[in-house]
C-alpha cells in the first residue's frame, strides 16, 4: 500500500509539471492553432537560466531563499522574452501561410534552440542545485514525499489557480477567450490580436520556465535535451485532455503523470518514455478530440 501511495504521489508531482508545460501548448493552440514545437526548448532555457543565475549568486554569497526567488524570477523573465521573440521571428510572418508552414518553422526553431544551448553551454549533464529548502515537518514522510515534491505540487496549484482567475476575470483574459473563439470577430470588436498572441506566448513561456526550475531542482541535473522529451510529453498531456482546453491540459497532465508513475513502478522502468508515446498514439487514434475537447465538424 505504501508503495502504491508513493507511486501515486510521484505521479502527482510529475503530472503537475506536465500540466504546467501543457498549459503553454494548449493556450497557444487555442489562439493560433499552432503546435509550438519550441515550447520544450523554452523550458530548457528556463532551467539553464535558473542554473546560471543560481551559480553566479552563490558565488556572490547570497542566502538560499533569495537565490531561489531571484533565480526563478530571472528564469521566468528570460523564458518569456524568448517566447515573445520566437513568436515574432518564426510564427508571425506565417500567420496566413498554409498550415504546414508554421509547423515546419516551429520544428526548425526547436532544433535551432536545442543546438544553441548545446553550443553556448555544454553537452554534458550539469548538476542542478536543490533550490527548495527542506521543511522540518516533512521529515516524517521523507521516504514517500519529499519537500521538493510538496513544493512542486503547491506551486503548480497556485499558478494554475492564478491563471484560471486571470483568464476568467481580467480584461486580457476576456480578450484571449474572444480571440480563441473567433479571431476575425475579436478584431472587429477592437481586440488587438497581435498583442494577445504575444501575451499568450509570454504567459505560456513563463509557465514553462516555472516548470523547468521545479523539475530541475527535483531531478537534480539538466542538459540541453531535457526540453525535447518533456515537451512531447506535455504535448501528450495537452492532447489527452483536449487541446485548446485549459482544464483539459491539467487533467491530461495528471493522467499522464499517473500512467507513467504506475507503469514504471509496476511494469518496467526501461520503457518509461514508451508508455507516454504509446498513450499519445492511442489517444489520437481513439479520441482525437481528447477527454474534455469537443470534436468540431470540419467546415467546407
Amino acid at each position: 500500500m505504501e508503495y502504491f501511495i508513493q507511486l501515486f504521489l510521484g505521479g502527482l508531482t510529475r503530472g503537475s509539471i506536465y500540466a504546467l508545460i501543457a498549459l503553454g501548448y494548449t493556450m497557444v493552440y487555442g489562439i493560433i492553432e499552432l503546435i509550438n514545437f519550441a515550447h520544450g526548448e523554452i523550458y530548457t532555457i528556463g532551467a539553464f537560466t535558473a542554473l546560471i543565475t543560481a551559480s553566479v549568486l552563490t558565488l556572490y554569497g547570497f542566502n538560499e531563499i533569495s537565490i531561489l526567488i531571484l533565480a526563478s524570477l530571472v528564469a521566468v523573465i528570460y523564458s518569456s522574452a524568448y517566447g515573445f521573440t520566437i513568436e515574432k521571428i518564426a510564427y508571425k510572418p506565417l500567420r496566413h501561410a498554409p498550415r504546414l508552414s508554421p509547423l515546419i518553422s516551429a520544428i526548425g526553431m526547436s532544433v535551432f534552440l536545442q543546438n544553441y544551448v548545446l553550443l553556448a553551454q555544454t553537452s554534458d549533464f550539469l548538476p542542478f542545485p536543490g533550490l527548495v529548502p527542506e521543511f522540518q515537518f516533512m521529515k516524517k514522510y521523507e521516504h514517500i514525499f519529499s519537500s521538493t515534491e510538496l513544493m512542486i505540487f503547491l506551486t503548480t496549484s497556485v499558478v494554475m489557480i492564478i491563471l484560471t482567475l486571470v483568464i476568467k476575470f481580467t480584461k486580457i483574459g476576456k480578450a484571449m477567450r474572444a480571440t480563441a473563439q473567433d479571431r476575425k470577430m475579436a478584431m472587429l470588436v477592437g481586440v488587438d490580436v497581435n498583442r494577445i498572441v504575444s501575451i499568450t506566448f509570454i504567459i505560456g513561456s513563463a509557465l514553462a520556465a516555472i516548470g523547468g526550475v521545479l523539475i530541475a531542482s527535483h531531478i537534480g541535473q539538466i542538459n540541453f535535451y531535457i526540453g525535447f522529451i518533456a515537451g512531447i510529453k506535455a504535448f501528450t498531456a495537452a492532447v489527452l485532455g483536449g487541446i485548446g482546453s485549459i482544464p483539459g491540459a491539467v487533467l491530461g497532465g495528471f493522467i499522464l503523470g499517473w500512467t507513467e508513475s504506475f507503469a514504471t513502478g509496476y511494469v518496467s522502468s526501461d520503457y518509461e518514455d514508451v508508455f507516454a508515446f504509446a498513450l499519445l498514439v492511442l489517444i489520437l487514434i481513439f479520441r482525437p478530440a481528447g477527454i474534455l475537447g469537443k470534436s468540431k465538424a470540419q467546415k467546407v
Partner: protein
C-alpha cells in the same frame, strides 16, 4: 529620415538580442568546481551580428511583400530557371553528360574518404526523395521517417547476424519491411489532421528507437550490432577500398532508379491523387479518390526507400546502433526536402547535396551543422516556402476552339 529610423530599429534589435542571449551565451558556469566564466566577446558578436542581420531581415520581408504584389499583378509568366534548362535540349543534354562523366570518374580521382562522403550524400538524396513522396506530394508531415530507416538497418543487421543472409537477399526484404511499417503506422493515423499527424509520427519514431535501445534480447540494446557484412560482388568479398567504390556505384544506380520511379509516380494517377489530397481532402473524396488507399500508399512508398537505405546504411558502416536513428536524423531529412522544395525532385537532389556536402567541406561549420539546419527550416518557411526550386504544377493548355466550331489541335 527613413534611414535614421532604420538604424534605430536595428540598434534596438541588437540591444534586445544582447539582453536575450546574455545568460546563455556570456556566462558559463561549472557547478562542480564553482567557477564562472564570463565570455563578453560573445556579446559583442551577438550585438554586431543582430545589428546587421536585422537590416537584412527587414529588407527581405519587404522584398517578399512587394514580390507577392507583383506576382499577383503579372500572374507568373516567368518559367523558373531549372524548368528552362530541362526544356532546352541544348543545355540539358550536355549538362547530363558532364554530370555522368563526373559521377563515373569521381572514385578514380578522389580519395576513399571523399567517395564515402559522396555515397552518404547520395543516400540522403534517396531518403529525401522518399520523404518527398510523403511530405511534398501527399502533404503528410512525417517526423518519424527515421523509424523506417532504422527498420531497414535492423532488418539487415539481424538477418545477417542470425542467419548470415547477404546484402542482396535482404535489400528487397528491407524495402518490404519499410513498406510494412509504413502501412502499420499509416493505418491508425489516417484520420488525423496535419499537426497531430506530425506528433504521432514523431512519437512512433521515438517508440521504435526506445524499443531498439531497451529490448536487449532482440536488438542487442545500445551497443548495437557490429561486423555486418558488406555487399558482395557476385559472391566475392571485396577489400575495403574496392568495397567503398562498389557501394558508391551501387548508390548511384539506386539513386537513378529512385529518381526514375519517383518521377514516374509523380505523373501517374496515384501521384496526381496525392497532390489532390494535399490540396483539398474533401474535394478529393468528392471526386471519387479513395482517401485511405491513397494515404496508405504514400506512407508505404515513402517508407520503402527508407527501408532500402537502412539496409545500405548497415552494409556501408558495418555497425548499427539505436543512436544513429534519433529525431535529429528525421529533422535533417526534412530540412533537405524543405530546402530543396517540397514536391520537386531536382530541388530535393540539390538540397541533399548542399546540406550534406557543405558541412563536410566547410570543416569550421560542421559544429554548427544542426544549428544551421534549424535556421534553414525557419528561414525557408518565412521567405521562400516553395524551396530553392519550386515544384512546377502540371498544367494543361487549352488551345481554344475555332470560330467554325472545330476543335483545334
Amino acid at each position: 529620415m527613413r534611414k535614421l529610423s532604420e538604424i534605430k530599429k536595428s540598434f534596438l534589435a541588437s540591444i534586445w538580442f544582447m539582453f536575450l542571449t546574455f545568460p546563455i551565451m556570456v556566462i558559463r558556469v561549472n557547478p562542480i568546481e564553482k567557477v564562472v566564466e564570463w565570455r563578453w566577446r560573445n556579446m559583442v558578436f551577438v550585438g554586431v551580428g543582430s545589428f546587421i542581420l536585422s537590416f537584412v531581415w527587414r529588407y527581405m520581408i519587404r522584398q517578399k511583400e512587394s514580390g507577392l504584389k507583383k506576382n499577383r499583378a503579372d500572374d507568373r509568366h516567368k518559367t523558373p530557371f531549372i524548368q528552362r534548362v530541362r526544356e532546352e535540349r541544348r543545355l540539358f543534354i550536355p549538362l547530363i553528360a558532364v554530370l555522368s562523366v563526373l559521377g563515373v570518374s569521381f572514385p578514380f580521382i578522389f580519395s576513399a574518404y571523399q567517395v564515402n562522403i559522396m555515397t552518404t550524400a547520395l543516400m540522403y538524396v534517396v531518403l529525401g526523395l522518399g520523404l518527398n513522396i510523403v511530405v511534398g506530394l501527399a502533404g503528410l508531415l512525417d517526423l518519424g521517417y527515421v523509424a523506417f530507416y532504422a527498420v531497414g538497418a535492423y532488418t539487415y543487421g539481424l538477418l545477417n547476424h542470425h542467419f548470415g543472409l547477404g546484402f542482396w537477399a535482404v535489400l528487397p526484404a528491407g524495402a518490404f519491411m519499410g513498406a510494412l511499417f509504413g502501412i502499420l503506422l499509416g493505418f491508425p493515423v489516417l484520420r488525423l489532421r496535419g499537426d497531430y499527424l506530425a506528433i504521432v509520427t514523431l512519437g512512433f519514431g521515438e517508440i521504435i528507437r526506445l524499443v531498439l535501445e531497451n529490448w536487449n534480447d532482440f536488438s542487442f540494446g545500445p551497443s548495437g550490432i557490429a561486423n555486418i557484412d558488406r555487399p558482395s560482388f557476385f559472391g566475392a568479398q571485396l577489400s575495403l577500398q574496392n568495397a567503398t567504390v562498389y557501394i558508391y556505384f551501387l548508390m548511384i544506380a539506386i539513386a537513378l532508379f529512385t529518381v526514375f520511379v519517383v518521377n514516374r509516380l509523380q505523373n501517374s494517377r496515384i501521384g496526381r491523387a496525392w497532390v489532390a489530397l494535399r490540396e483539398d481532402e474533401i474535394a478529393c473524396e468528392a471526386m471519387g479518390i479513395d482517401k485511405t488507399k491513397t494515404k496508405l500508399s504514400a506512407f508505404a512508398l515513402g517508407a520503402t526507400w527508407a527501408g532500402m537505405m537502412g539496409v545500405l546504411f548497415a552494409a556501408k558502416t558495418t555497425f548499427i546502433n539505436p543512436a544513429s536513428f534519433t529525431f535529429l536524423e528525421s529533422a535533417i531529412i526534412l530540412s533537405i526536402v524543405v530546402l530543396g522544395g517540397m514536391g520537386s525532385i531536382t530541388g530535393v537532389i540539390i538540397g541533399a547535396f548542399v546540406l550534406i556536402l557543405l558541412p563536410e567541406y566547410l570543416r569550421a561549420f560542421s559544429e554548427y551543422r544542426m544549428l544551421l539546419f534549424g535556421a534553414i527550416l525557419v528561414i525557408m518557411m518565412v521567405f521562400r516556402p516553395q524551396g530553392i526550386i519550386s515544384n512546377v504544377r502540371r498544367t494543361y493548355k487549352f488551345a481554344g476552339i475555332n470560330i467554325s466550331g472545330e476543335q483545334s489541335k
